[in-house]
Amino acid sequence: MRTVYMDHSATTPVRPEVVEAMLPYFTEQFGNASSVHHLGQRARAAVDEARDIVAAHLNARPEEIVFTSGGTESDNHAIRGVAAAGRGRHVITSAVEHHAVLNTCKALEKEGFEVTVLPVDENGLVDPQELRGALRPGTVLVSIMMANNEVGTIQPIRELAEVTAESGAVFHTDAVQAAGKMPVDVEELGVDLLSLSAHKFYGPKGVGVLYIRAGTRIRPMQVGGHHEHGRRAGTENVPGIVGMARALELACAEMDEEAQRLKRLREHLQKGLTGRLEDVQLNGHPEQRLPHLLNLTFAYVEGESMLLSLDAVGVCVSTGSACTSGTLEPSHVLTAMGVRPELAHGSLRFSLGRMNTEDDVEYVLEKFPPIVRRLREMSPTTREASA
């Protein structure tokens, strides 16, 4: 059976060039980057080079790059590290964050911190004026994502970081979904902390970055040896780090062209589906949105039924967020945007990527509308029934 993978916001395959760059560091160049002998020093050199590459692509300094195990660790480190070092007990985040941020903030709340969760508008945007109103003398951290993983809405990070800087609080952004899809320049954005995860941009799983602007008040969260300048203990994942740097390099080199291509494919898919089916609604900002992501609500049907029916014809998508699939609650992102629960249950996320072609879009346009029609015929809540 043909496989059409349209779930690149969940994860991506590792590019062959990336695998090739990683391979020697599993076998011949297996040294511990902390060892003094030549094998250790070769591993050290590889990690240093990767750090330079990552720093250059984020417009950061190498010493501001901390390698982690991925996006969730980076988010935890950023939030908990600043909370532990800060001089206040108040943090601010938004209602549409990834659970790695939201649940870390909730955990802090249990430990006695006060958490303000900023609302978003119907397109999923946080209003900088709303943030201004929430900042207060005890605010130590603001954490707002760069681009949303479910609907793709891109936040005005520069403005939000500016407002935060006026108050003296630290600004963190989870750029896990944005990296490789749009420029991520820490100076341009004015952020203090920024999280990345390699497997979202054709790198390996289990490796990520926390950018820490020089001078930021933050404590280490994982304590042990003197790795990463004492900011994150643990033997460096050398092959992973090398692979991530190569993946980021490739993604940035091809970004403009690939973003344009994905946007064209996405528009074709969006027009095709809205043209072939009634009662389809776009979730997310119509323009200010990641180029590869399309989140649609199909009224009178339920997301999992659509997902499994698509899977049966080889098409991989997700219902809002892969993490959400294990629960029965409608997506917190869609409900925060004011999407009614019954419609939130009928949402589907298509996230396109490198291997998708015009042909794949045509395949989905051929296979998917009959699935929706069939499920609607089976549904007791059609438009006629609710009229």
Binding site: Y300, V301, E302, G303, E304, S305, L308, S309, A312, G326, T327, L328, P330, R340, P341, E342, H345, E377, M378, S379, P380, T381
Partner: protein, 131 residues
């Protein structure tokens, strides 16, 4: 995630639709939770002569609806009232724990349809007919 039997009933559900002029209707669930089920039945001689369902919901909701209608068809109303969520889940080779409640409503829908039938067709008080 799902048993083969669930996937079978999800992919090829039985008794989908709505009976015209049904003898009993049972609707359960609510769109806010993501699951709504409507069961319609035709009753002949105290037995379920025909049964159809319409369901909005996940694969578990559709599969439980389908198998419930199969289990109920031809049964006496008393027997059909004994079909429970637990038996429906067993018949499907089990359901994931988070799907046991919200998505396993068909037995309730069936019971409601039977109750609806009984309310519309009150039995003469047993053995008390005069003359």
């Amino acid at each position: 995630m799902y048993s083969d039997k669930v996937m079978e009933h999800f992919t090829d559900p039985q008794n989908v639709g709505e009976i015209e002029n049904p003898d009993g209707v049972g609707q359960v669930g609510n769109p806010t939770c993501g699951d709504v089920m409507r069961i319609t039945i035709k009753v002949e001689d105290g037995h379920i002569a025909d049964i159809k369902f319409k369901t909005l919901g996940c694969a578990a909701a559709i599969a439980t609806s389908s198998i419930t209608t199969e289990m109920a068809k031809g049964k006496s109303l008393e027997e059909a009232m004994e079909i429970t969520r637990k038996r429906v889940a067993e018949e499907l080779g089990g359901l994931p724990p988070q799907k046991m409640h919200c998505s396993n409503l068909a037995a309730e829908g069936l019971h409601k349809a039977i109750e609806d039938y009984r309310a519309k067709h009150p039995q003469p008080a047993g053995g008390q007919t005069s003359d």
